[in-house]
Symmetry: D5
Subunit: 146 residues, 10 copies
């Protein structure tokens, strides 16, 4: 899972500036997860968004072009080895079919879009140990019949 060079430079600049993704959320008006996706070149910015980011990170304007390019997506090995990312793979292995069954029951035959899609990460404070909350929201797409 080699990290693209531009990602490394963006991360280093962000660290030098002492900015968190949450700080960038305020500057760009986009969610921190989407911004992180932009860092890893899994999303493409508008020219305006790219400029805001490049300014915030005090980077060279030449980065703008790269950030607005539509990337070839998908970062990883077939089965992720990083424990944090693997847990999401495990959730598919264990809960994939049950989720499918419940979605079909609620919506009929179709899927949850991963394109018309948002994902938030929240921290739930809990005396028994804080919890990571992931909220995904994807448009339901019915299979078209023809």
């Amino acid at each position: 899972m080699s990290i693209p060079e531009i990602t490394q430079k963006l991360l280093a600049a962000k660290q030098n500036k002492g900015l968190s993704f949450a700080d960038l959320e305020k500057i760009l008006g986009r969610d921190e997860v989407w911004i992180a996706a932009l860092f890893y070149r899994q999303a493409s910015a508008s020219e305006e968004e790219a400029k805001l980011l490049v300014e915030a990170l005090e980077l060279d304007a030449s980065y703008i072009q790269e950030l607005i390019t539509y990337p070839v997506k998908g970062l990883g090995p077939i089965v992720p080895t990083d424990p944090l990312i693997y847990r999401f793979y495990e959730i598919i292995q264990v809960y994939g079919l049950p989720i499918k069954a419940v979605i079909h029951e609620k919506f009929g035959d179709g899927i949850m879009s991963a394109i018309d899609f948002t994902l938030d990460v929240e921290k739930e404070e809990d005396p028994k140990g804080d919890r990571v909350k992931i909220i995904m929201s994807g448009k339901f797409l019915s299979y078209k019949k023809w």
Copy 2:
């Protein structure tokens, strides 16, 4: 992705009884996703839960033993081929590293547990098209140093 025989029988009984997972949620006092996981033998019931389910589905009591057994989990092919399930795999490929970056920023080095974990599926009505909402909540586990 061959469905275990017991799953097929449970699904058939549920259909004959005209029950949804949401109906079973009221009977068992467990979330519909967890119940669907039990159907696919990705979760194990207590004896009481097993009895309630077997009664609700009017199945033979011999199913109880099977439902309380701790299963060998994991259902699928390495890369899921079903479009609905694949979208979750795609989310890992595209948003896996960004999610990791944001979780680490909020919590430090560690992971979201997939064991001390809940998952809900909700229907968000939306005039532009209903949306599937997935809410995961997993305990944050810090890496122990020793």
Copy 3:
């Protein structure tokens, strides 16, 4: 690539009745490719469609239930070995990135839906040798930013 049992029975019944997929197109009011997808349990019928098909094939009404079930989709080996199907895989290997480049140029960042999607197979008569024409039409989905 083991063919599901129901598919084998549907194909046998269709052959006994001397019906082509094109004949069924007229009976069901659905495209022949979609009907073939239903045969291979890659699509789910409405109750009415299932009844029409079962009647046309003079099959037992018990098939209706199975045809309206939402199937777990995806039929094949990771790389298809059948020469006809492999050619489509080859088209992805060879023309995948070029298609991506052209779609992005015409539409921006997003994808062609494979759900809000139709596919037609036509025969183009040609003195130098008939041609297979495949027409796919999928809704363009823009990446949502959030």
Copy 4:
């Protein structure tokens, strides 16, 4: 899916010149998808085509030799991770056998050529959302018996 160096240079030159693949279609007299395939070194140009392209992009004549070389083709990972490209893989998984069934019914035993083959990408404007139209046309090749 590492992009060959020549591809990167061609894409950069095209961008500097502000040319789209559609613009190049007019200059070369070849379809934009074929030209994109040439960019990704999945097709080989005639010397004349190479010259036209190199001139249009104001590149060094040394590129001509490379563009007329017959490349080793196939660009990608076994299962594509890019969502746009993956959808075509999914179409094979879901509709591969149905397409095979319909082609055989219309043509007999044989395949659609991926060599004597053309592929067009069109934009279908639609008030409910524009659609991507892919038209493939491949010569039908009957299995020779001997």
Copy 5:
């Protein structure tokens, strides 16, 4: 590499009748390799060919239908383990690119068809040890430009 049931029955019948593939070549008027491909359901017979074979093997007429069906082709594991078959895989690994270079030099950009294709196996007697001669003949297909 599980052998289809029909193949086993055809092979057993052939053995009972004491017939070689070369004998069947005379009866069917087709090459022995093509007939062997038919046995392994990698080729489809015309009704007449199927009848001739079924009669020669004194099998039930019900086999005819199966022999004229267009099969899903491809028999094996990804890398063949049988030493005889593996040698052909090794030839691709070792001589694949050299063959490609020579074919391109002689014919230009294109491929050898595996559909408009014949394959013969001959025995070359040789005092230093008999030799297996494989003669493949496939139509050269030029890449179509569009």
Copy 6:
């Protein structure tokens, strides 16, 4: 399928000299396919052959040592993606078992050697389209019993 550096230099030199593999066949007294295999470092030359080749291509004498080294062989991905090379893989998938059946019938239990082996590529002119003819000849090796 990354081409070794020496191969690239040999191919470039051959092109600069305007020599075909068929021309080199006359100079080296070896078949063009074997020479192409030497280019791709899938064969090792004698010192004399290496000298002849280096002289013909007007290369530095330092290449001789490399050309006489016994290489680690095997060039490619597990399943070849290049369409020309893939067709040979397809031939194994489709005709592998039939070829095995016919060879065993003609020769008994054993294999065709891929070491005591020659391979020729010929152009068969044909008004319906030229054909690629591949002739392999490998010594039959009987399984030794002990």
Copy 7:
């Protein structure tokens, strides 16, 4: 690694008769490893050898036909999981290239045949712990140049 049914029956009969492979070595006049290979259907017997074995094991004569058939060979998973068999795989991973280097130095470019080949297993008694001795002897095959 599913064991073929005939292997299971041969092994059971051998056990019932209280015979070791070493005992069968005396009866058949073949090495015990070759006989074990015959049991696992990785070798084919002559009719005489098959009769001797069937008699020794007091099996039905119908086994003879099966034992003289030329099998499709290769038994296992790609990487063996059984610890005893895996050690041989490990030897290839660790000593494969060194063995290649030494064989080439002693013999030139070529291979050790695995067909004109014998393999013996011996027990070396040793006060520090008995040792397994494996002796392979394969004909050296030089690469033919053509």
Copy 8:
């Protein structure tokens, strides 16, 4: 199967000095196969062995440190593509279970060690063609019960 840089330098030095592995056997007092394993960094030398080798090859003393390091072992692709090395893989596929059966019969449940292990390569001169003899000797290790 990329060869480590140190291996390439050791092989080049050995060639420049005109030494065979057999020559080095006399200098180091270790078997030629073990020395070849050291070259490929599949074995680690004592300081004394490393010095002897570095002197014999007239290399810089800085190589000593690298040669005494305990390496991460295993050189190759999962299934070896080099024909010489593949034959050993084939031997596992074909004779793996038979060898297991014979070892168990002679020794009980356990394995042949690949660590307390030696491997020799010998040339057996034979008028019908020289033979490669491989002698492996590994300590038998019984499964401990606890």
Copy 9:
């Protein structure tokens, strides 16, 4: 990960008798993990051990033969999908090289045997949550030089 039939019968008998592996430990005089390994046919019993087990489970004496057979070992998919078993795979991915570094520092070049090996599972009670303790003990095996 299909469980062998004998394992299912042993597990069912154990459950019917209300015995834990810890109870069987007292009866057989073997560790509970080893006994579980015997259940899953990953270990072989002596005749006496097999008898004790069969009596304790009140099973038919015919099981004895099966339990003393030396099994083909290895149970699972290449990457385990069951979360409990996967964690051990993750430990190899994350701590494999660090463990290797520490073992080499303490012992020199060699390995921990997985054959002369014991493994215990203990429950460590802990007010912050009980802990699973795994204790492995394997003989250190030095690489033999030869």
Copy 10:
């Protein structure tokens, strides 16, 4: 299994200073295995730990930043080829299900955490050959029901 550059520099510095992981254990107040994991960038240090290490190794302060970064974890090939590391993989293949059975019997449905986890490597002196002792301790995590 390419070792990250920082790991190579840390290992070289450690060697130059003549320090073992056990020595570093005293300096950092962390276990030697955890420190080795830090070297291989499978663990992240606190700023204080990073400083102590950098000072002990007399490295540049610029390493501190890298050592406190949360790494993407997982080092290796899917099936490890290094013999020492492979033995742990083998233990999963052979004892994975038995361990699962015993843990479930002692603790119920859940897993051993690999995050709230420690691992020690000890040397057990033994006249019959020293033994490697691995002690893992991971918090038991019960599956949450919801």
